[in-house]
Amino acid sequence: MSMRWKPLVVLGIGAVALLLGGCVGRWRTHAPQALFALRPAEGVAPLTVTCDATLSYDEDGTIVEYVWDFGDGARGLGPIVSHTYQTGGTYRIRLEVFDDQGLSDQIETQIQVEFPPPVAQFSYAPWRPGTGEFIRFDASSSSSPNGEIVEYRWSFGDGNWATGQVVEHRYWYGGGYPVTLTVIDEVGAKATVTQVIEVQGGPGCYTP
């Protein structure tokens, strides 16, 4: 081989070596890839969810640590964990994985936990009212696990309505009237209950 071609040969071999290094990527270190599944994806509080991070993987190593942040102040460790959300709200769940080379990756998602509904209940008196007689409706037995009930709505079944925890109403015709109470608590959760009131005397005006 002529001496004048040697530099070109050396240059070519060097270029091939560099390209091979770039192609194969053998000397690169890959970070792990965080991924998890969450079940159930939604529900009513208290909601227990199971988080499975075994979907995470590491191309050139082993994942040695799984760190969870459930978004409500609680944290967890391990590939599969469970957590209970006591109250409704939107929470951010974040997973961070670390491999045996100290590299990490993280991924997060949001979960919507619904507030439990309040309990709507009411009583009324007298038990068998007559036409023109005031009936007292009392919703003070209603309650909510989310806090205070902030609104009571009444529909008396004769086209009239009212608001308030305790209300009075009278009917001018006998018959059955569906009285509906809707309560709304401080987080906006609603509940409804209906009772049929039998009013004595006079012609019936309610047709179910």
Partner: protein
């Protein structure tokens, strides 16, 4: 720029009487790394495997093969003797896909996902005969145009929440940039200026993040996106024709 260089080479080559014109065409089997795209495919495969293993889910979706092997075609010409200059054009393609369906609570959840990467290059090439008529080394540089065709229809059983899902829809992402290659070609003369060639080479082709309608490629949705790295090795077989000018 690449066009001009190629045209100049061809004109100069054609006018250089007393030289040898070599024309070659051949097929290539190419091996790419596609590190970032394959990371997306691995993530998708993790998801597929997870659902496949769910005892509540019927059916199976085959995992995606990583993007590695591709095929291509190359044509080129060289003018000169000992040291030759010319041009070449190459078309390469890689692809992977999967399709299937899961059934959960009586409802079908079809899956179809495919990726196809294509590369077209125009390069000026320089070849040096190490062993005349038998072994030559070549260097090439020029411009490449790459495209990534992506299509996905991916629905999961609905009581799952998984922060990653292959984005649905179809898109063609494009990018272009400089490319370079080195190769070694072994020729087996058949007579009358015709030879069979066997070549190995490596191509450097990094295009950064391709875009589709201004939207950068980000299949895994991590905000960092994926680059299109078509750096690859190839093994080729060619037919070479040498003409005395």
């Amino acid at each position: 720029m690449a066009y001009k260089a190629l045209l100049l080479t061809l004109l100069l080559g054609g006018g250089a009487w007393g030289m040898t014109l070599q024309v070659n065409s051949g097929a290539q089997l190419t091996l790419g790394s596609f590190s970032q795209l394959n990371q997306f495919l691995a993530l998708t495969n993790q998801l597929i495997q997870h659902v496949n293993q769910d005892p509540m889910v019927e059916g199976e979706v085959p995992p995606l093969e990583p993007l590695r092997l591709g095929v291509g075609f190359s044509v080129g010409e060289l003018v000169g003797r000992g040291v030759a200059l010319g041009g070449q054009a190459t078309v390469l393609a890689w692809e992977t896909d999967t399709q299937g369906a899961w059934n959960w609570q009586g409802d079908p959840y079809p899956v179809a996902l495919g990726l196809r990467v294509e590369l077209f290059t125009l390069e000026v090439q320089l070849a040096v005969e190490i062993v005349p008529g038998l072994l030559a080394l070549g260097l090439a540089g020029g411009w490449g145009w790459a495209s990534l065709s992506y299509q996905s229809s991916f629905s999961l059983p609905t009581d799952w929440e998984i922060p990653f899902l292959p984005p649905p829809g179809e898109a063609v992402y494009r990018a272009s940039g400089g490319v370079g290659a080195v190769r070694a070609r072994l020729s087996f003369p058949l007579g009358s200026g015709v030879a069979l060639g066997l070549e190995v080479g490596a191509r450097l082709a990094w295009f950064g993040r391709p875009t589709a309608g201004g939207t950068p490629l980000d299949l895994d949705g991590d905000g960092q996106g994926e680059g299109l790295d078509l750096t690859s090795l190839w093994l080729g077989a060619s037919v070479n024709l040498a003409l005395e000018l």
